[in-house]
């Protein structure tokens, strides 16, 4: 499958698109069953997901929390389900939970995450749209990825210029 495409459709949004070689019912299962979510939603190597409480009904609360296995640093997300349409759409609020504070706070307003699933010929396209409460929140969330101290390979201009 082609690697994930990240774009910024507006000043408050980030859109991530990816296709998976599996029917939508299996992708849905992987997105909603905590035992399965824990196996892939680990964010980065060396991290685990000690808390993964999921809800699949409107108004239900979810809680996800990650831990760095080496230094015990934690962060997470919590929120409420706004819309759940079997095999097609999940929308929820998302509040950043800075854990021990090392990640810094990102303001009080929740962002809205909408995940849509669309199957064609056994391939499931998943689009994740994150709408932040403000442009500053989006920039802060995106820069967190940068300052996590992960060993990231910096690619030069090539990626954008080839695109």
């Amino acid at each position: 499958m082609k690697p994930a495409e990240v774009s910024t459709p507006s000043d408050r949004e980030v859109l991530v698109k990816r296709s998976f070689d599996a029917p939508v019912n299996l992708v849905w299962q992987a997105y909603t069953d905590p035992a399965l979510m824990r196996r892939w939603l680990t964010a980065m190597p060396g991290w685990s997901m000690p808390v993964c409480e999921m809800a699949t009904h409107v108004g239900g609360k979810y809680r996800w929390r990650w831990r760095n296995n080496e230094n015990g640093q934690e962060f997470g997300f919590t929120g409420e389900m706004l819309e759940v349409a079997l095999h097609s759409k999940i929308a929820h609020t998302q509040m950043y939970d800075p854990g021990d504070g090392a990640f810094g706070s990102m303001g009080g307003e929740p962002s809205i995450v909408t995940v849509t699933f669309n199957e064609t010929n056994g391939i499931t396209n998943v689009a994740t749209l994150i709408k932040y409460a403000s442009q500053a929140d989006r920039d802060a969330a995106m820069s967190t990825g940068m300052t996590d101290g992960m060993e990231m390979s910096y690619q030069s201009l090539d990626g954008v210029l080839a695109g």
């Binding site: 994930a4 990240v6 910024t8 939603l41 990825g145 990231m152 954008v160």
Partner: protein, 111 residues
């Protein structure tokens, strides 16, 4: 109003302009020749890019040349790249998990 840089580079025409002037500084007319669009539309895109400080203008004789601010572009590119890598890391694990689920489903059907 301050322009949003991510929004500026989300537009496909603006991305193509960036790719073009990354190679060499160009006049709006020369840029417009590469696109199936009006000179006015190109000027508008250049204005957006200039407001984000992604491109700079330089007067040479009677012509204005536009060139890319490579460092600014790199900064944005690295930013998006980082975000992309985090998501792709998760998605690769999801690929593996889905392959496993598919296999299990197939075996279930055989029974």
């Amino acid at each position: 109003m301050r322009r949003d840089i991510f929004q500026a580079i989300a537009d496909p025409t603006r991305r193509a302009i960036i790719a073009l002037i990354a190679l060499q500084a160009m006049t709006p007319n020369a840029i417009a020749e590469h696109f199936d669009t009006t000179r006015q539309a190109v000027s508008k895109h250049l204005r957006v890019l200039t407001e984000c400080e992604l491109v700079t203008q330089e007067q040479k004789g009677r012509e204005i040349y536009y060139s890319l601010e490579i460092d600014k572009m790199k900064e944005i590119d690295e930013w998006l790249e980082q975000v992309q890598e985090i998501w792709e890391g998760n998605y690769k694990r999801l690929d593996a998990l889905l392959a496993e689920l598919k296999q299990a489903q197939k075996e279930e059907r055989k029974k």
